[in-house]
Homo-oligomer: 244 residues x 2
Amino acid sequence: MRLFSLLYLLVILLGILCVFLTVFWVQQWRGGFAWDESGMMFNWHPVCMVTGLVVLYGNAALVYRLPLSWVGQKLPWKLLHAGLTLAAFILSVVGLVAVFAFHNKQQIRNLYSLHSWLGLTAVLLFSFQWMSGLCAFLLPLLPAWFSSAYKPIHMSFGSAIFILSLASAIAGINEKLIFSLKPSNNTAGYSSLPPEALFANSLGLLIGVFGLLVLWMLSRPSWQRPDRHISEARQPLLEEEDGG
Amino acid sequence: MRLFSLLYLLVILLGILCVFLTVFWVQQWRGGFAWDESGMMFNWHPVCMVTGLVVLYGNAALVYRLPLSWVGQKLPWKLLHAGLTLAAFILSVVGLVAVFAFHNKQQIRNLYSLHSWLGLTAVLLFSFQWMSGLCAFLLPLLPAWFSSAYKPIHMSFGSAIFILSLASAIAGINEKLIFSLKPSNNTAGYSSLPPEALFANSLGLLIGVFGLLVLWMLSRPSWQRPDRHISEARQPLLEEEDGG
C-alpha cells in the first residue's frame, strides 16, 4: 500500500498542477477571464473542462481505491463520489455555456469539430452515468441485485467516458492553439513554437500522464475494494446451515 | 464465451471499417495516394497510423484473449502477437516518413503541434515496448522470474500506449480537417460541416468506439488467459516433495 499512497499523492499533485497550468495558460496568453461573451468568456471553457471532466472526475473515480473507504459505513464515500462527480458535471455545464455564448456572440458555428462531437458525447454520457449511479446506488429505487449487476457496468463506463474526456481535452488544446497562434493574430505562428505553444503542448502531455496514471490505478485488482457481495451472497447459505 | 465471440467479431469488423473509411476519406476528398512528397504522400500518414497503431495494435493486444490461445503451445501465439505489433511498428514508421517528407518539401515545420508530440511519444514508447517484449518473452536472454515480473508491466503499458495512440489519432483527424477545410482551399469551411467533415468526424468517433471496445475486452478478468505461472511456480516445490 506504500506504492498506492505515493501514487495517490502524485495524482493529487498532478491534478492541481493541471488546473493551475490551464489557468496560467489562459491568464498569461489568452487575456484572462470575463463573463462577457468575448474570448475571455471562452477561457472558462478549458479551465472548467480540465478541472471538471479530467481532474475532479479522476479523483472521484479513485475514491473507492482509498483503503480508508473499505472500513465502516460506505455511505459517506458514496456521497463524496457523487459530490465530486456532481461538481464535475456542473463545471462541464458552465464550460459548455462559456463556449456556446462565445460562439454565438462571435457568430462562430457550434459543434462542428471532431473535438466538439467527442466532448459533447463525453458530457452527455457522463450525465447519464451520474443519473444511473444516483438511481442504482444512492436512491432506494432499485432492487439490490440490480445495483450489484450494474456496478461493474458503471465502473467500465466510468473508465471509458474518462478516456473520451482525455482525448477530447487533448484535441481541444491542439485545436485552440491552431486557431489562436497565427501570425495574423499578432502572435508567432504555432509552427514556430512560441512559449505559449511549448507551455500548452506540455499541459496536454501532463493531462495525458494524469489520466493514464488514474486509469492504471483503477485497473489494479489488488487496489480495488474487497467485494462485499461475496460475503453477502453467502449469508443465506450460512443461515440455512444454522437452521439445519 | 458467446459474448466474447460476438464482440471479437465486432472488433474485427470495426477495425476493417476504420481502415476502409480512412482510405475512402483521403481517396475521395484529399486526392488519393502517391509517394512524391505532395499532399498525396501525406495521405499515407492517417492510413498507416490508423491501420498500424490503432487497428493492428488493438488486434495484437487481443490475441491472448482468444480461448484458442490458451491450449497447446504458447509460442505460435507469441509469434502472432509479435508479428502483428511489428507490422504496426513498420506502418507507423512509413506513416512518419510520409508526413516528414511532405512537411520538408512544403517547408512546413515538423513536430510542433500537440498531436505530433503525443503521436511521436506513442510511437517511441511503442517501439520500446516491442523491443522489451522481444527480449523478455521471445529471446532467451532474461531469466524466467524477470519475464513473469515484467508481464503485468508490459500489459499495463500496452493499454496506456494504445490510449495515447487513440487520443493522437483523434487530435490528428481534427487537426487535418481544420487545416484542409478552409474556404480559401476551394472547399467549404469546416464549420459549415461539408460532407467530408461529417464523414471524418464520424470516422473519429468510430475509432473511439473501436478503441474503447478493445480496452474493455482487455480489462475483463474472466477473459484473460488463465495464468500458467502459478503452476510453473509450484513445480520446484513438487519436485522437492518427490525428492523427499
